[in-house]
Structures are given as structure tokens and as C-alpha cells.
């Protein structure tokens, strides 16, 4: 007859106070313009205690810097490049596969790294369906890397749908940047 309306309330609330927070740092992806054929990561500035640069050959410095960088700094330099997708597609283009080939090389070199592959979408799909589309992108990316010999247990996937656009403007160029699988190094 009549609903028992929302009764009396002890106020309360789930304070699910900060649980085990996902500490995963998130790397800033390179811009798409510069990313497709990128090679080695930009050389980070050498740690201050290091003696004069001339004393050390460039290549080993970079190696050491990567090996010794904090996860945050590592992700800032994005040694694993993001891959981009066509509208409403989860297929890896040949360009994307090329990027993943390079990422696989990096992951083989640093065999202790573990990564989270994030799937993202542009704003033109619905928020709900995009959760699944982003997951498809992340899963396909992971599967391709597995086919290159990267261990499954080193790669987790998560989809953020269209919740975290890299570029929040509403332009085609923003959409292109937002349809991506993004790598975050979570352990090294």
C-alpha cells in the first residue's frame, strides 16, 4: 500500500577508510605525436652524487638510472609506451604492435618488472559499455605481450573506461589520445 519509507537513520557511513591503497604510480604517456617510433627512454638526469658525466659512458648511465630509479621516476619517464586504438575498437594496429614489440624488449631487459596495463576509452561511448571496452583493450595488449614471451604473472589489467581521460578536451585529437592502453610499472 505504501512504502515504508527510508526509515530512521542512525547516521553512519561506510568509512572504508583508505584501505590498502593502490600504490601503483602512474606514468605520463608520451604524446602520440612523438610516441610511435620512440626508441630508448629519454635519459634521466644523472643522480647528483655521480661524478662528472664524462667519466661514465652514456649508455651505462641510462641503464643504471633506470635500474635505480624510484617507481615514480621510472613511470614519469614512461619506458613502456602507451598504445592507441581506433574508435570503438580493441584491435592492435600494426603501429601499436610495433610499440608493444619495443615494450616487450624493455620488459625482457628488466625481467623483474611487473606492470599494470590500463585500458582507457574516449568520451564518445557510454560510461558503462566503455568499462568493458577498456578492459578489452588492456586484455588484448596483455595477450600480445604474452605472445612475445612476457610472463602472464608480470602483467595485470584494469579498465578505467572513460573515467580518466588523458586529455579532457572534447576534440578529435583528445579522443585519439584517450583511446589507449597505458603502462604503469608497479614493481621492479
Amino acid at each position: 500500500m505504501r512504502r515504508m519509507a527510508v526509515g530512521m537513520f542512525a547516521l553512519a557511513v561506510m568509512t572504508s577508510a583508505a584501505c590498502h591503497k593502490n600504490k601503483a604510480p602512474v606514468a605520463r604517456p608520451a604524446t602520440p605525436a612523438s610516441m610511435p617510433s620512440s626508441t630508448a627512454p629519454a635519459p634521466p638526469s644523472p643522480p647528483s652524487p655521480v661524478p662528472a658525466p664524462t667519466m661514465v659512458p652514456p649508455e651505462p648511465v641510462r641503464e643504471d638510472a633506470i635500474a635505480s630509479a624510484s617507481l615514480d621516476n621510472l613511470n614519469k619517464n614512461a619506458p613502456l609506451k602507451p598504445v592507441f586504438f581506433e574508435y570503438d575498437s580493441d584491435e592492435l594496429s600494426s603501429e601499436a604492435q610495433q610499440v608493444l614489440n619495443e615494450n616487450a624488449g624493455v620488459m625482457k631487459k628488466y625481467a623483474t618488472w611487473a606492470v599494470t596495463i590500463e585500458g582507457h576509452c574516449d568520451e564518445r561511448g557510454t560510461a558503462e559499455y566503455n568499462l568493458a571496452l577498456g578492459e578489452r583493450r588492456a586484455v588484448n595488449t596483455r595477450a600480445y605481450l604474452m605472445s612475445l614471451g612476457i610472463g602472464a604473472d608480470r602483467m595485470r589489467t584494469v579498465s578505467y573506461g572513460k573515467e580518466f581521460p588523458f586529455d579532457s578536451s572534447h576534440s578529435e585529437s583528445a579522443f585519439e589520445k584517450n583511446r589507449r592502453a597505458h603502462f604503469v610499472i608497479t614493481a621492479k
Binding site: 530512521m8 577508510a17 591503497k21 602512474v26 606514468a27 614519469k76 560510461a127 558503462e128
Partner: protein, 456 residues
Amino acid sequence: MMKHLFATTVAAGLVVGLLRAQQPPPPAPTQPPPQQPTEIVTTISGEGGSAPRLVVLDFIPLSSDAETVAVARTIGQVLWDDLNYEREFSFIPRDVYSTVPRATSLETIPFDRWRELNADGLIIGTVQKGSDGLKAQLRLYNVRTRQIAYNREYTSSNARLIAHTASDELHESQRALKGVARTKITFDSDRAGERMGGTVENRGVKDIFVTDYDGENSRQITANKTLNIAPRWSPDGRSIAYTSYRRGGANIFISNIFQGTLVEVTEGNKVGENWLPAWAPDGSRVAFTSTRDGNPEVYIANRDGSGLRRLTNHPGIDISPTWSPSGTQVAFTSDRSGSPQIYIVGVDGLNLQRKTSESYCDKPTWSAPPYNEIAYASRTGPGFDVKVLDLATGQTRQLTFGEGSNESPAFAPNGRHLVFTSTRSGKTHVFTIARDGRDVRQLTKTGNNEKPDWSK
């Protein structure tokens, strides 16, 4: 003449504590306005079968202090808005009221003048401050006979709640209609402006919020510096199920908002991603999408996560489940045909039916009786519009027409309204709209506000 016998439990204000240290403590729970035993109620009708024409006056303050005067005005105006929302009555415009001598008591109402203005019914009341909050008396008069058609007293600390309660009771007693004045809307929002910690990219968190159906009385439910999205009211209005990334991946949580307890329906990252819970009509189970078997499929579990079973089985994406009002079917979105479309399946997994053949459809929501409709977001251009499918006739009607992108519809419990999001005013905001597409109202004003749901 109709007897109004039942005693009702009246909703007290929704009191949701805030979890954030910097926030003031939440107000104490409001007391439900006790009901007086009800007398005979008569219904007022309009002339010639038209909708009854009402005057809803500001209440008469029984003391002259500013607070009581303000409360008296609030009750009358909120009640006017609440009654107007269902369009069961017509109204003498408020700007005409000043041309009629003001009643200073319930005994001095100028009925002749209101009758001259063609009023059928007149609502007025008194309000005073008491030791236990506000005490309001409401009367609905038949303007022709000058007799009392409805008479109630309310006690509450919340003036808006008094008006909302009165509106629901008047709709029920006068129009046999379940109003929505005491219902709530929940949605996710980035309005708190917090950034996610530990990330290199600048990422805003999202939290769950609730408001009254009219957008007032907004409260924050979650605060854990991550993504909390797509909240859904339990049928009893005491819990909210939602998708949260607080464990890293996406998982289903149920917040029992009046007990302060939290249930993890899906556990951690061991079982794939889990999204978009939807309550069964009896509140015992939730349907949601999970990738635990390697592909997004719809599952049904008990509200504590036990008794999990898989409902769909297709290599395509199956997502956005919602229950039929009877609890015997689930509508969902699947791209098994190549693009996202709306499907219906029995809760036993049988009798799959495709319901849409459009460009891109998502987020079905199923209306309560007497309507039997599924609303959804449909791509109509660069963005989406809300459409409604009448399941009996198979006819589809469109409610929005390209003003921004219009997504994530959810029906009001009486099926007469929907809540949805639109980008028509810039950012993404929550709006309500009548089921015929009229009466669009913007509920939120700050931040981006998405994926709303309407309490039962």
C-alpha cells in the same frame, strides 16, 4: 469519499555521515513526523473532469521570528513544487496570490476570492517551533464547500521533509498515486575536486553522492581517494551498491549507509574486474558484470557475494544489467551482434531476446508498473539521447533531442520520471525528465556528475 486508514511511517531526512575529518559532524537523525490518526478524507475534483485546480499558499507562521517566517514560506513553496512535479493538479500561479488578501489564520481564508479565481482546492497550514522541532498543521480545503478535505499534523526538524511528506500523502489520498517527493537520487561525482594519490598523471577521484529528488540536501557517501562509480539504491533505500577501485581493480561494494557497514561483494583482484551492480527487486541479490571467466559476462550473486552464478555466456561483451520489476528477467547490453544493443534474458538464462537494432544502445532501465518500458541511451549523432521502448507495443519514443549527450537513464520508482545525465550545460550534470519528455530539471550544479540512480 475515501477512507484513509493506514498509519504511515514517514521518512526522516536521509542522514548520511560524512567520512571526512575536515567536515563538520553530520546532523543528528531527524525524527519522523508522527502521524495523527487520520480522519475522513474527501477527494477534490476539477470541473468537467479536468485536473483539480489548486492554491498552495505559504504556511502561516504562528510566531513572528525570522526563522519561523522563513520555514513557513519554505514549506508552502516546496509543497507547491512537489505537487506540481506529478502534474496531477493544475495550479493558480503564485504571482496571482498577492492579489488576494492573505489569510492570517486558518479561520480567515478568503474563499470567495479564491473561488473567483476558479480554485477547486486550497492548501494552507500553520507552523510553529516546538521543543522537538517544527510542528506544522496542513489543511486541504474544498473551495466550493469550504470544508476540510484533508487535515494533518507533522513534527520534524526538517521543513522540506514536512512538505515532501505532505506531498506524497496528498498524492496518495487525492490521486491514488505514489509520489516521489521523499525519494533520493544517487550518482558519482568529481565535485570534491580531490586528486588521486600516487599517480603521475593528474587524476580526479570520484565519489558517491546522494540528494533529494529535487537536487537539494546533497550528501557525500564515499571518500577513499579513488574511483567510486555507478551507485544503485537497494529497494529498501538503506544500502547503495556501487563499483569501486579501492582495491586496485574494479569491484562491487555495498554500503549500508545507515549502519555504517561495508560489504565487499566481489573480492579483490583475484576474480577479474567486476562492474555495475543492479539490485533484484526484493533486494536479496545483485546482478553485475564480471570478467572472472575471461570475458565480460553478467552474473547474479546474493548480496553478500555468495551463491554466484553466471547468467550470460557469449564471447561478446555483456554489461549494464537491470532487473525487470517482477524479478524474473534481466535486461542488459551486449555487443554480440557487432554493436552494443539491449537484450532481455530470463533469470534462468533462457529466452534471450534482442530488443534494439540501432547504432549503439546502452544502460537499460526498466520501469515499474503500470508502465512496462525500458529506457536506454541511444547514439543519435555525435552523442546519445534517451529513448523509451514500450515492451507491450514495441514502440520507441525519444525523450531528448541532441542537446548535449544524454546518457545513463534510470526510472523513478513510479515510472513517471527518469533521471539521466546530460552535457547540455557544459559539464556532465544530473537531470530529471518526465516520461513524456517534458519538465527537464537540472539537479546538480558543480563538478561532473554521472551514472545516477533513483531510490524506490
